[in-house]
């Protein structure tokens, strides 16, 4: 009868994490404490000797391998935080407070008391290898770490979209009313902001192309590097049309031709995304992206995050093929409606 689904509150885990993070880093880099949760890549040391990126057989900077960008750092700076970066102590204090909030006791039998066991569904980020990032937001520009204000056009589009959604009916009326994530259609593979789980990537460089396999939804970004123009404007898609080139050792990927449905942070189909990937060490890479969309925001904005060597291989994420939850949710909604109708009919007969 109890609705309580949670495992022990995450606060304990946060405390363990604090202890681990504050320990001096061993030379080997990774802390192997018997649980995957606590594998933390080393922070680059100031005394480290200069590191030079290797080359592929055809002389491109070698970015190949498995990578992860799993992080606790949010895209936007949380309210009340003014610093650009935390100290380690502050970071864990914030983490601990979050864990305590997640683990708060509520009155049994109330909706507030329904907790998911995040670790059971891989939604607890500490289950994977964490990429250390003490920044308080991924956004670096504007300097307040927040997405810039929307233009009038952007606001109007968002309002129109919301009105359109309302016309489609309630959330569980049909599959189309649910999020593209629930529908296994699109989980925000671009820009590569870490999703709740499966935040793993594989880069393979072949002649003339860089391929980035995004584990979530097995999104395969095959990026031409030969300087060809973008596909015609009429060819639009969820992940858009990417073209890459090298600027020194940095892989620069420019993407346009998005469809009307992506709406990354409320952006328009004419959003232009520029991503920059730079190896900073054997196990580290910097990922930066710039969003330009004058139809939506008053200024372009930028974000950056570290990426670390991940653990391969990447397994097939067959989401649509195993999407039982969709059927379950819709079937449950139909059953509720039927029960409500029966109850109403019964009441009418009395």
């Amino acid at each position: 009868m109890s609705q309580r689904l949670i495992a022990p509150p995450g606060a304990i885990l946060a405390l363990i994490l604090i202890a681990v993070f504050l320990m001096p880093s061993p030379a080997a880099g990774q802390l192997k404490l018997g649980t995957n949760a606590l594998n933390v890549a080393p922070a680059p040391s100031a005394e480290a000797k200069p590191w030079a990126v290797g080359k592929t057989p055809d002389e491109q900077p070698d970015l190949q391998g498995y990578w992860t960008n799993n992080t606790m750092t949010p895209l936007q700076r949380p309210g009340g935080v003014t610093k650009e970066s935390y100290t380690k102590e502050e970071f864990f204090d914030a983490l601990k407070k979050q864990a305590e909030r997640d683990g708060e006791e509520a009155t049994p039998g109330t909706v507030e008391d329904v907790h998911y066991d995040h670790s059971q569904f891989g939604l607890d980020r500490t289950q994977g290898k964490l990429t250390p990032n003490l920044r308080t937001s991924m956004i670096t520009d504007p300097t307040d770490g927040r997405i810039p204000p929307m233009t009038q056009e952007g606001k109007k589009r968002a309002a129109d979209l919301a009105a359109q959604k309302r016309k489609q009916g309630a959330q569980y009326d049909q599959a189309e009313n649910l999020s593209t994530t629930t529908r296994c259609i699109y989980m925000g593979a671009i820009p590569m902001i870490p999703p709740a789980y499966n935040n793993n990537y594989q880069i393979v460089q072949g002649p003339g192309y860089v391929m980035i396999l995004v584990e979530e939804l097995h999104e395969t970004r095959v990026i031409p590097m030969d300087g060809r123009p973008h596909a015609p404007q009429s060819v639009r898609s969820w992940l858009g049309d990417s073209r890459g080139h090298w600027e020194g050792n940095t892989l620069v990927i420019e993407t346009t031709n998005f469809n009307d449905k992506v709406a990354f942070q409320g952006g328009s189909r004419d959003l232009k995304l520029t991503e920059r990937l730079t190896r900073t060490g054997e196990d580290t890479m910097k990922y930066e992206f710039t969003v330009e969309d004058p139809h939506t925001w008053t200024q372009p904005w930028k974000a950056e995050m570290p990426v670390t060597k991940g653990v391969g291989p990447i397994f097939e994420h067959a989401c649509n093929e195993g999407n039982y939850s969709m059927s379950n949710m819709l079937a449950a909604a139909r059953r509720d409606e039927k029960k409500a109708a029966e109850a109403a009919a019964k009441k009418g007969n009395q």
Partner: protein, 275 residues
């Protein structure tokens, strides 16, 4: 007798080639065609199979030979009717066990409910290789990737052997080179994918060994040996050419078909089911 004159014959032949080379390009051309094709090499010295490829046949409708037939929906008329094909199965028919053949026939009869392609499910192997969509091969020394337009399916071929963590739709592929040929050995499939729209199927015991060999600069010879003791009485083979998409601006486009299959998958559970 033959051996005795071999050197003399070879000498004459060599001289002949030389004369032919000097006098006219035609016999020289004939001579080179008789040799197996040697593909250009990637920078790491392997045959270069990089490119965008596609099968041009009607195997996705039925891997066995078949005549033209009406499609499953009369409303679409000629547009979704079955084009004829000679089939890609070598020395057919497919050697089904009797009870398995019966299941294949049931699959076909109930294909509107059962064909995984209708639901935008991952195509499996070998079906992915001859669906009517292009795919791209991207090679590196450690991994050879195959990125498919249909459903955004992808295969990783591990050139340094790797073991499957679990069964999957696309299976687990390990590859190696045998001279000019890329050999890909794939196991650890689930039992959910089909070979075509005709209901040809396999179990989770499926084992596929594929061979990719460049026939010339724009063709690959593709063959796959299919073994599944739960369904077939013996291993059997399919083969076909794969054609290079030669357009300069060719690229693998996005075809997220999940969105198009939602009415099939969930329509009956909607508040207002589709008519």
């Amino acid at each position: 007798m033959r051996n005795r004159y071999r050197n003399t014959i070879a000498g004459f032949a060599g001289l002949g080639v030389l004369i032919a080379l000097i006098l006219t390009p035609t016999p020289y051309h004939a001579q080179t065609q008789a040799q197996p094709y040697r593909a250009p090499r990637t920078k790491d010295g392997k045959p270069d199979l990089n490119g965008i490829w596609q099968a041009v046949n009607s195997a996705n409708w039925d891997i066995e030979g078949h005549g033209a037939a009406p499609g499953p929906l009369w409303q679409l008329g000629a547009e979704f009717s079955v084009p004829p094909g000679l089939g890609v199965v070598e020395a057919g028919p497919i050697p089904y066990k009797p009870e398995a053949l019966q299941k294949k026939q049931e699959n076909f009869a109930d294909r509107m409910n059962r064909d995984p392609e209708i639901k935008c499910y991952l195509p499996g192997v070998p079906r992915a290789m001859y669906m009517p969509y292009p795919f791209q091969i991207i090679t590196s020394p450690q991994h050879i990737m195959m990125a498919f337009e249909y459903a955004g399916a992808v295969r990783t071929v591990y050139m340094n052997h790797s073991d499957a963590p679990a069964d999957s739709w696309m299976g687990w592929s390990n590859g190696h080179w045998e001279g000019e040929t890329l050999v890909v050995d794939t196991t650890d499939f689930n039992d959910l994918s089909w070979f075509d729209r005709a209901g040809n199927y396999h179990s989770d015991a499926l084992h596929v060994v594929e061979r990719f060999t460049a026939a010339d600069k724009d063709h690959l010879n593709y063959e796959a040996t299919i073994e599944d003791p739960k369904v077939f009485t013996r291993p059997w083979k399919i083969s076909m050419p794969l054609y290079r998409i030669v357009e300069k601006n060719a690229q693998i486009l996005e075809d997220k078909c999940v969105e198009f299959s939602e009415e099939v998958l969930y329509g009956k559970l909607a508040k207002v089911p589709p008519k």
